[in-house]
Symmetry: C2
Subunit: 410 residues, 2 copies
Amino acid sequence: MRSGEFIEPRIDPAMPERKPLPRPDLRLRHVAIGPVAVFGASNFPLAFSVAGGDTASALAAGCPVVVKGHPAHPGTSELVGRAIVAAVAAAGLPEGVFSLLSGPSNELGGALVADPRIAAVGFTGSRGGGLALMRIAAGRPVPIPVYAEMSAINPVFLLPAALANRAETIATGFAGSLTMGAGQFCTNPGLIVAIDGEGLDRFLAAAATAVGAAPAATMLTPGIRDAYDRGTSALGNAGSVETLARGAEATANACQPALFAVDAADFIADDALGNEVFGASSLVVRCRDVAEMLAVAADLEGQLTATLHLDAGDHDLARQLLPVLEDKAGRILANGWPTGVEVCHAMVHGGPFPATSDPRSTSVGTLAIRRYLRPVCYQDLPAELLPDAVKPDNPYRLARLVDGVRQEAE
Amino acid sequence: MRSGEFIEPRIDPAMPERKPLPRPDLRLRHVAIGPVAVFGASNFPLAFSVAGGDTASALAAGCPVVVKGHPAHPGTSELVGRAIVAAVAAAGLPEGVFSLLSGPSNELGGALVADPRIAAVGFTGSRGGGLALMRIAAGRPVPIPVYAEMSAINPVFLLPAALANRAETIATGFAGSLTMGAGQFCTNPGLIVAIDGEGLDRFLAAAATAVGAAPAATMLTPGIRDAYDRGTSALGNAGSVETLARGAEATANACQPALFAVDAADFIADDALGNEVFGASSLVVRCRDVAEMLAVAADLEGQLTATLHLDAGDHDLARQLLPVLEDKAGRILANGWPTGVEVCHAMVHGGPFPATSDPRSTSVGTLAIRRYLRPVCYQDLPAELLPDAVKPDNPYRLARLVDGVRQEAE
């Protein structure tokens, strides 16, 4: 942000003597796309709500922000909103830079997205909610971009050598990632894919024990808990699905962890088995062989993450999986768990539909600023009228692309 | 392209000792979004058709391309298509890298955009055509990005000092830009905005003379000619519009240049007067004062370009107009004409809706490659499985952002 890299100035100086036609002076910078509507997530009242990633990215890009607070945490939303309003005043910014709308209604959110003054939308939530906002945005007289992060089951592929070497360790890590925070993470490992064999049997035994011993944890809202129960019931009642373990019996509003298993052919045949169950539920897909594992990978919808657990002996198989997974996910991990999302320069928290509505972007990390920018070119504008970012004397000391070659500020 | 800048590698190295949690190794690169459907423009059989800008950008990004050839130039399309197929074979690339579909039907184009294997769309053409493809793309089970360049009237603001100093010179330049190629450019100056006074009177007299003396020029297709006649008839018959000049009488398929004038209040009151008339037709909007000129600017739809003719005495007024025009257009010019579009690094050929469907992008220049890319992050992947662009030994010698700081290749 402070480096100004996001402005990405480009300068192609005039060539008045060029034949057959002279070249004008052309200067490009990136500017704010306009006012952004941000829909806070239910599951991150701080990191992805009123003052969350989308608000930070939009403000950093120079966009005013109107937040639709999530009804699951109205008090936190108001506290954070008041803090931002105070910061806006302290910084001497115009009041309109930030607003917070509270209320449970879909009508409120729909009206916000339909408002002609809104230029882009950031949303984190359910697939149904995201699709509804996408429809409203596409149906406007002036359609606008929607960055909706919606649903993912974050497949984890357990490769044979890794399973043979450390099935129990992987199972322990899996159960921890699955049940942390009652599994209410968009990066929760909701799908395990592995090839039948002794290693997988050991993993399943250890994972079933760990999940079976996991306590019930209170979920964020009754609505999330109801959706979790519906999702786990649907899986448990599917004829092709075996229930491997359920955790401690859930009391009111708590999530009873769940581990299911299904054969790969049945998984591929029934799209509903690939639906996200938000909470501590995961489905193990048992493959007969490598070909079936590749078929499961190819059958997946878009994902936020895809994970490989692998050892040196698995690299050949990994090389077959990676091109498929690159098409499916925004982030590919090895020998870890997807639930942690580092805020840094190289993070991609995004991915092909339905993980998000727009695979060209990330919602976490410094690259997220780009989603709220657009390029503008200035041709032969007198120097004193040029924006500072592209002025000849470069008052911001920005690195710039001059005739296609990067020049650091002197 | 050869520099690999478009890959934009970012590396945040592991911090195993970090407290409270270690940081994994994170590496980001940009990859091809997938197969792209390209719809050639009627008016640029070479530069924006089968082997045009969108095809070049998509291939450069690594995307296979399926072109829907424009029915206005099927022979040229086939010649160019065969040349590309030969080049694909000569380069040893897979045959599927490029395909050309010929045929006039909207059904063909619709089926192409609806095909689940297509990941993005590039289109140059009419507003109706672009909107139809946007609807199809948004209604797919997996929605995809559409880059549709559709319609623009490219407003030109003539500021008072410039008019006083050189009204006749500006009029000559205007008539040349307007009538070149029968006005069949998406950047044609279809709207002139100026403040009443002696300077504007001189401009109007000179422009009317020049346009009145302009020959009729044959248009690209009968359909374009019919649409031009409908558009100029609608303007000529509008009660508030005065016909200042018509060029030479048109024979079959030719375009009779046209210059109209309207008062600013009437222009603002009637949205239809802001519709694009594709061809050598322009409308002069006469403003009473600066406030009315600013109101006209604020009333405009999104544009590919906005132009100012200004002298030193106009800079204060230009400073009032520029923030408005930056919100409206992808390119802002001073003392030139928008019809020339330089292919370079700093060009933006794009702009807010309805100039295009997506203001975050350009269709001309090296930045255009970005529209067909998406970011992917690799977390803790073993070095030998990493893509070359983000391998520790940097075999491509790419400049990379390491911990947020740009490092040139050694």
